[in-house]
Symmetry: C2
Subunit: 349 residues, 2 copies
């Protein structure tokens, strides 16, 4: 109690707060430190009236009450969620939006029903192409008039993937309200914008969904603009983060641990390397836990330092497909998907 | 409760956390959001044994129990405390130490006994030159071996100033443990390093105090080093801070408020000016409250904006002595006393 890290507040209404990465001490993020990223004020959820409906291109439109969902077969998946704006504050030049540091990312174990079970029950029609997911949160946007629900879509294929779930539990307890109670879509391996909170309406459609959270936000806009449609944001990019030491920290000589996390939404992360000489030479860090399909993985490296001075420390991850992180950030107008090699400086007295 | 800002965590042990400036909504900082800056772990304070002793160059060495102090005449002063590392993260190049943002500053009303009353009771000798103040917090340093108490000194003159107090209450309640219970020195107008928490020992001395928190830390070290002793840090520099909007925020057209605080430890702040065109023209902000000797003062300015675009907003304060803030930061090795003009960018959609 005496030493308690807190969420790092970026905005109060809507509530945007990040996990304090320097407090990383377990694979699962404590619930009160799990990052919060909201587009709107929290919705009013009245469980007397809440239903999850499945509509559109289905032969049997239907709805589920909360207890219907609780009584269906459940699957459990450890899944790291990361906001695609994570690390935005490191872009140069800076980009518009919440200036997230290292912690718009957290990890939990999610339990719920497979989305494919719900879609099969509704009997999807042959012309179906996408599935939209509507949260109960809604409000105004700065760029167009009107009131908008937070709404996203998936391809029918991704919707039917056995690991796409409607989560009812987080870390073995009913979803906390702030994280989407009573039901939240979880799209493992994708950035967090896909995992719609306070889910209440699923619509199967035959045309590509064109809502603003699908085609205005959450696409890679680059300059100069091209005539092609901008690339939509999907899977979490290969990334690694130093939780400690922190940038500009002053340390004593002797043994100092360097530790953090690595993740990728596409191929397994197979190696993390540390440099203490600004990238001239690299050493392999140790894993603190096993590989899991959709989870960040903690690593550490014991640094025995005898010489006082200034040290430039870098970290980079490699995945099973042979990819590695780049020195150069992939700058884009909205500051999405930062995954350049992280660099910190520490001082040994 | 649903929307609750939190302290911004920079370090857990020792606990260094800043006030989330964007939550500024009253002159007095709520206790749970008052910034915390510690050099060491929290001390063990056992009130059965706690005494405040006055020793050294005094004719009547004595000690006070807690109830002795409570029964003495009390004075009440509103005083803003600011860590001299506040805004350190804005220095370019970056400097060693906690990367404080805008919020290593908070305001409270302090009640306690005048230090001069305690010193008079002890009958200070004619050879006295300085007074040292020792906190109960102690620990190791990175730059020299040994265990050190947090200990600072004041000139005898500043110690005898009627507004230098040994505070027992913060905002009308006994000091919170994290803010120095049972007794904390408060040196109004000075940076926070002078206001020693968990105060338990006052020693009157005849030579300048040479402890590391007096002559190694909390001095302005510049490069190249000069043969002169570095300037010690004392009064809070003229400064102003934008609490909202936040840097890189996206706003809608219409009325937007720009608001924040201004402060100086030397002369009264008489004016705050806002520029929305990157410093080409300046407009006078309104005060939200009266001038008080040692308090920050909130200001605001209503910005009616009709043109979409990118706006570079700046704020600068002026004091009664004719000083104004500079565009250029006064860079120094330890990143102390940042008070350059603040610049944020906002986007109007």
């Amino acid at each position: 109690m005496l030493y308690s890290p807190h969420l790092i507040t970026h905005r109060i209404m809507p509530e945007n707060q990040e996990f304090p990465m320097l407090s990383l001490s377990s694979r699962i993020t404590p619930e009160h430190l799990f990052y919060r990223r909201n587009h709107f004020l929290y919705p009013n959820v009245d469980m007397r009236f809440w239903r999850l409906s499945i509509e559109g291109c289905v032969n049997k439109p239907l709805y589920f009450r909360y207890d219907n969902l609780l009584n269906m077969p459940q699957v459990t998946l450890p899944v790291t969620l990361e906001c695609v704006g994570d690390k935005r504050s490191f872009f140069e030049p800076k980009t518009r939006g919440e200036q997230w540091g290292l912690g718009a990312i957290s990890h939990a174990v999610w339990t719920g029903v497979r989305l494919q079970d719900l879609l099969h029950a509704a009997d999807v029609q042959g012309n179906a192409r996408e599935v939209t997911f509507e949260g109960m949160d809604k409000g105004a946007r700065t760029d167009m008039p009107g009131v908008f629900s937070y709404k996203r879509s998936l391809s029918l294929e991704r919707a039917l993937h056995p690991d796409t779930i409607v989560a009812l539990y987080m870390n073995g307890k009913p979803l906390p309200f702030r994280h989407g109670y009573p039901a939240r879509l979880i799209v493992p391996g994708w950035y967090g914008m896909a995992s719609v909170k306070w889910l209440h309406r699923i619509v199967v459609i035959e045309e590509p969904f064109q809502g603003p959270f699908q085609v205005v936000d959450y696409v890679f806009n680059r300059k100069p603009l091209t005539p092609f449609a901008p690339e939509p944001i999907t899977t979490i990019r290969l990334n690694s983060t130093i939780a400690g030491p922190t940038d500009q920290e002053v340390l004593a000589r002797g043994e100092n641990w360097i530790w953090g996390i690595a993740i990728s939404g596409s191929a397994p992360v197979v190696q993390v390397e540390i440099s203490i000489d600004n990238g001239n030479s690299w050493l392999v860090a140790s894993w603190m836990e096993q590989q899991e399909a959709y989870s960040w993985r903690r690593w550490c490296w014991k640094w025995t330092v005898t010489e006082p001075g200034t040290y430039d420390i870098k970290v980079r991850a490699k995945d099973a497909a042979g990819n590695t992180q780049s020195e150069m950030a992939d700058w884009n107008v909205n500051g999405y998907g930062y995954n350049a090699i992280q660099h910190i400086r520490v001082y040994i007295d």
